[in-house]
């Protein structure tokens, strides 16, 4: 239960960060997540970032013709209609996963360096 609450908080942070600060908050928040949680954080971060962006897409869909825009963009880039939405959801997933994973690996360095410096 607690894990789910943490995950929902993560989703909210991703969503608010994107809305108010921009897309680049995704790797930052994901890296923070990876640094705190450690190994395995990448999956959590990817799922949370994707969910956050999906919720923001849904919010857009409530204000106008989102599917029309999706098919227009797909036409511009020569992709199938669904591809732009998939790309939009995959982009934060990949970036969050990579950032979280990198942070968690770097986190692994820290104790070993401390250990090496101990007398």
């Amino acid at each position: 239960m607690k894990r789910w609450i943490h995950w929902i908080v993560l989703v909210v942070v991703f969503a608010l960060g994107t809305a108010f600060l921009g897309w680049w908050t995704v790797p930052l928040v994901a890296a923070l997540c990876g640094a705190i949680v450690g190994r395995g954080a990448w999956g959590w971060a990817a799922a949370a970032a994707t969910t956050a962006w999906a919720l923001l897409l849904v919010e857009n869909a409530l204000t106008g013709p989102l599917t029309e825009l999706a098919s227009t963009l797909a036409g511009i880039f020569g992709l199938p209609g669904w591809a732009v939405i998939v790309l939009t959801l995959a982009f934060p997933a990949v970036i969050a996963a990579a950032a979280a994973e990198l942070a968690s690996v770097l986190r692994g360095f820290a104790p070993s360096r401390r250990a090496a410096s101990e007398p």
Binding site: A15, T18, A19, G22, W23, W24, P27, W42, W53, L56, L57, E59, N60, A61, T63, G64, P65, L66, E68, L69, T72, L73, G75, I76, F77, L87, T88, F91, V94, I95, A97, A98, A99, E101, L102, V105, L106, G108, F109, S112
Partner: protein
């Protein structure tokens, strides 16, 4: 640390770096994906601005009083304000809301600064535009404008309205195109409105110069032949100013044979191809600009069923999405109540009507550009040019071209003489004098015309309209109809403007402009109607003063005159039908020659069977360009072949691997003239061993047309020959993106029709309007597009199907905001002064 952790770390770092790279930077044609895909601030936010809010109240700085803007169910804003400046401010605001990216494209096109927006691919275009000096000229005009004048104040208010929209816009208001380009809107300067008028001036020259074109022809076939192929007077006369005849007059004259090449002309012409409109890429090289141009006509009350004057207009321009036009209704009680189309960038109605007067424009196409061969003091680094034996300083401008990231792409030094910009090629320099670059009062004329209450006031207001010269047709509620070709028409010292002139003497300079009293003009003619379709404005037997040369063939003029002459009780519905009439005067005149030649040669030609079949099929044709017509294609292919075989003498040189292209295509009226010389040397196709005459060329063209039609469209009975499958209108988005364009639209019309279609389908009737000037003015209109520039808006392309079908919408023309039917009010915008 375990080795696999290190590997995971490296992999994660690489993936992260790659995704951050495509997220933050452009990759090929893709914008930076991070800000682009961001669902809160990126492209997805655009969905929120697709439709207009039902009701909105906003504060707008600078307003003197509240302004009410009611958008009807066609997306047309009806702007009610207390004064003209508030109207202009509100107009700027709503135009920016609907067409912000188009505004950006307009000013950048004229200024030659598209590269900054779309990248280095636009550099050549930018260089051409800057060399023309459009922005240079607009800034001079703006500097000369009295800042306290009404027109200046309105230009500034319009700019403030646009900038207020930009400043107040949210993430959802940034148009899709900016997202695709990774760019942001730039602020609007009042002078940009003048840029647009200059840009229209260039478009309406068709990107051509008669002087340089004739020079290119002279280089190939000598001066006498060149003069005959681009004649000063059209061989078929049905002028705008009626000449007392009910039908056209055929002034057919023998064409001199092709002469010897003229090396001096070749040397002078080479290197200035783009200025001559040759191979500019805007249209097929050497093609006749049949699809460019416009129609307008009016019928006096005695020739209309209802007894009220009727007026129709349909300017033919490049078809774009969003459209060049934006439909508006502007009201200042007691001062202004005008409806029509404006061009985003211009704070006035360009074509339209008010409660008393209606007007429309066609391009006059007069020769308003002259080139002067200049002598410079130093071809490598010129500083002075010689006139009357003395050196004068060149005006110099350093032009820096930048790309999307702000980096310098190129630098040019532009030079200007007192005549205008210099085009330099090696050691040769031509300066260009062009009325569009001279002081223009078009903005003031349009402003005053919108307030006119009768034909005389309209003509007075428009008398100051200098460029681009227009055939202005006007009608009023009292039943008066009139037309006048209006603009600055140069007076040349030698009475002719067809040659490149000697720049070293001031005696070559223009001596002035035609006085307005001499403009081609007609008012309430006996025939009871007036029409213009870019034909030669005045019969040379009435006034032979040089006005221009190489006039478009008068096929559309002949057709509309015939239709109006045949209908003595014309109705608005008939006017609407005329606008897409499938009849064609060109086909009426050329078809008999094909049939006669084919029948004669079918008995003795080696290819008798094919020729007989082609004749049989073409004889079936009703000479109409209806969508289901299955013979028009054969005729058009035969005409293509006829042009290609006849004017082979005008082919230039091979450019590497690229085949030779025709440097100039004489008008089809000149070709019709030549049909009456069956043994002329022009008929011989020099690329063949035989020496052909007219009938052999006609027959060969016909056989080739049948082969081409079969190869491309199958057998004639299979349905592939239907005109709607052959010829299309293609309305491209302004960035040329197919997914945002309307392509392959069926058309009813071909070359020379009142509703013309070009080979590429990129030009056509950009606006159609019919107005009945009864006790209450009634009007109908359509244009191919929609009011919104947002590609996902329902109003982006909602009018296209009606345009294709030749239908018009009855427009709403309320006197007051309360008069607009609430059921037809889509959105209300209240603009209030900032407190």
């Amino acid at each position: 640390m375990p080795r696999n952790d290190i590997a995971r770390g490296i992999l994660a770092a690489l993936v992260l770096a790659a995704v951050l790279h495509v997220g933050a930077r452009r990759t090929g044609p893709l914008p930076p994906l991070g800000p682009f895909l961001d669902p809160a601030n990126g492209v997805w936010a655009v969905v929120g601005s697709a439709e207009l809010p039902e009701r909105e109240a906003l504060a707008l700085d600078g307003l003197a009083g509240p302004v009410q803007v009611l958008f009807d169910d066609r997306g047309v804003p009806h702007i009610f304000a207390a004064n003209a400046e508030d109207v202009a401010r509100a107009l700027g605001f709503v135009v920016a809301r609907d067409r912000l990216f188009q505004l950006e494209m307009h000013w950048r096109s004229a200024a030659g600064r598209l590269s900054e927006l779309v990248g280095a691919g636009a550099l050549d275009f930018d260089r051409r535009m800057r060399r023309l000096g459009l922005a240079w000229s607009a800034h001079k005009d703006f500097a000369a404008l009295d800042r306290e004048s009404a027109v200046a104040r309105e230009l500034m208010a319009y700019a403030e309205g646009i900038n207020a929209w930009i400043d107040g816009s949210s993430r959802r208001d940034i148009p899709l195109e900016y997202r695709l380009l990774g760019a942001s809107p730039s602020r609007w300067e009042p002078v940009y409105s003048l840029y647009l008028l200059k840009l229209m001036g260039w478009d309406l020259t068709y990107g051509m110069s008669t002087d340089l074109q004739r020079l290119a022809v002279q280089a190939l076939v000598g001066s006498e032949a060149a003069a005959a192929l681009a004649p000063v007077n059209s061989p078929i006369q049905q002028p705008i100013q009626p000449n007392g005849r009910t039908g056209p007059r055929f002034d057919l004259v023998p064409l001199p044979p092709p002469g010897l090449p003229d090396p001096a002309a070749a040397q002078l012409a080479s290197g200035f191809d783009w200025a001559a409109g040759l191979g500019s890429g805007d249209r097929p090289p050497g093609s006749e600009p049949q699809a460019l141009g416009s129609n307008n006509w009016a019928a006096a009350p005695e020739r209309t069923a209802a007894g009220y004057a009727l007026l129709a207009g349909d300017p033919h321009l490049r078809l774009d999405l969003p459209s060049i036009w934006y439909e508006v209704h502007l009201v200042v009680p007691g001062e202004l109540d005008v409806y029509g189309v404006t061009i985003p960038s211009v704070p006035s109605v360009v074509i339209g009507f008010n409660r008393d007067v209606a007007w429309s424009l066609t391009n006059t196409g007069a020769d308003v550009i002259d080139y002067y061969a200049e002598e410079l003091d130093d071809s490598a680094a010129p500083a002075r040019y010689r006139v009357d034996g003395a050196w004068r300083m060149l005006e110099r401008a350093i032009e820096v071209y930048r790309g999307q990231s702000g980096g310098v792409l190129a630098t040019d030094t532009l030079l200007f003489t007192h005549r205008g910009p210099i085009l330099q090629r090696n050691d040769r320099a031509l300066s260009m004098r062009w009325t569009v670059l001279e002081g223009s009062l078009a903005s003031a004329a349009l402003r005053d015309a919108a307030r006119s209450t009768d034909v005389d006031q309209f003509l007075d207001a428009m008398a100051s309209f200098s460029a681009p010269a227009q055939n202005m047709i006007v009608a009023d509620r009292s039943g008066t109809i009139a037309i006048r070709s209006t603009g600055h028409f140069p007076l040349h010292p030698d009475g002719s403007g067809i040659a490149v002139r000697d720049g070293t003497t001031s005696a070559s300079d223009w001596t002035g402009y035609w006085p307005a009293t001499r403009y081609p003009f007609a008012r309430n003619p006996d025939q009871g109607y007036l029409a213009s379709a870019n034909q030669q404005p005045i019969d040379p037997r009435v006034d032979s003063t040089y006005l221009g040369a190489n006039w478009p063939s008068p096929w559309r003029a002949m057709r509309i005159n015939a239709l109006l002459a045949a209908d003595s009780l014309v109705t608005p519905e008939a006017m609407r039908r005329f606008q897409t009439d499938p009849g064609n005067a060109r086909a009426d005149l050329f078809l008999p020659f094909f049939l006669e030649a084919g029948r004669q040669l079918a008995e003795r030609a080696v290819t008798a069977q094919e020729l007989a079949e082609a004749v049989r099929l073409l004889a079936d044709w009703d000479r109409l360009y209806t969508r289901d017509n299955e013979r028009a294609v054969l005729f058009e292919y035969a005409m293509d072949g006829l042009v290609e075989r006849t004017w082979d003498e005008l082919l230039g040189e091979w450019q590497g691997d690229r085949p030779a292209r025709r440097v100039f295509t004489p008008s089809s009226a000149v070709l019709f003239n030549l049909l009456h010389q069956p043994e002329s040397e022009w008929w011989d196709d020099r690329r063949t061993a035989e020496v052909e005459n007219r009938d052999e060329i006609l027959a060969a063209s016909l056989i080739a047309a049948l082969e081409r039609a079969r190869a491309r469209h199958g057998e004639p009975e299979e349905g592939g020959w239907r005109w709607e499958r052959v010829r299309h209108a293609n309305i491209y988005h302004r960035l040329g993106i197919p997914a945002l364009s309307a392509l392959g639209l069926p058309v009813r019309g071909g070359p020379g029709n009142l509703n013309p279609s070009s080979n590429w389908g990129t030009h056509g009737a950009s606006w159609r309007m019919v107005i009945e000037l009864g006790p209450e003015v009634r009007a109908w209109s359509i244009y191919p597009g929609g009011q919104s520039g947002n590609p996902i808006s329902r109003r982006y392309a909602d009018r296209i199907q009606k345009w294709v079908d030749g239908e018009l919408d009855l427009v709403l023309f309320p006197r007051a905001a309360a008069e607009l039917d609430p059921a037809r009010t889509a959105s209300i915008l209240e603009l209030n002064p900032e407190r």
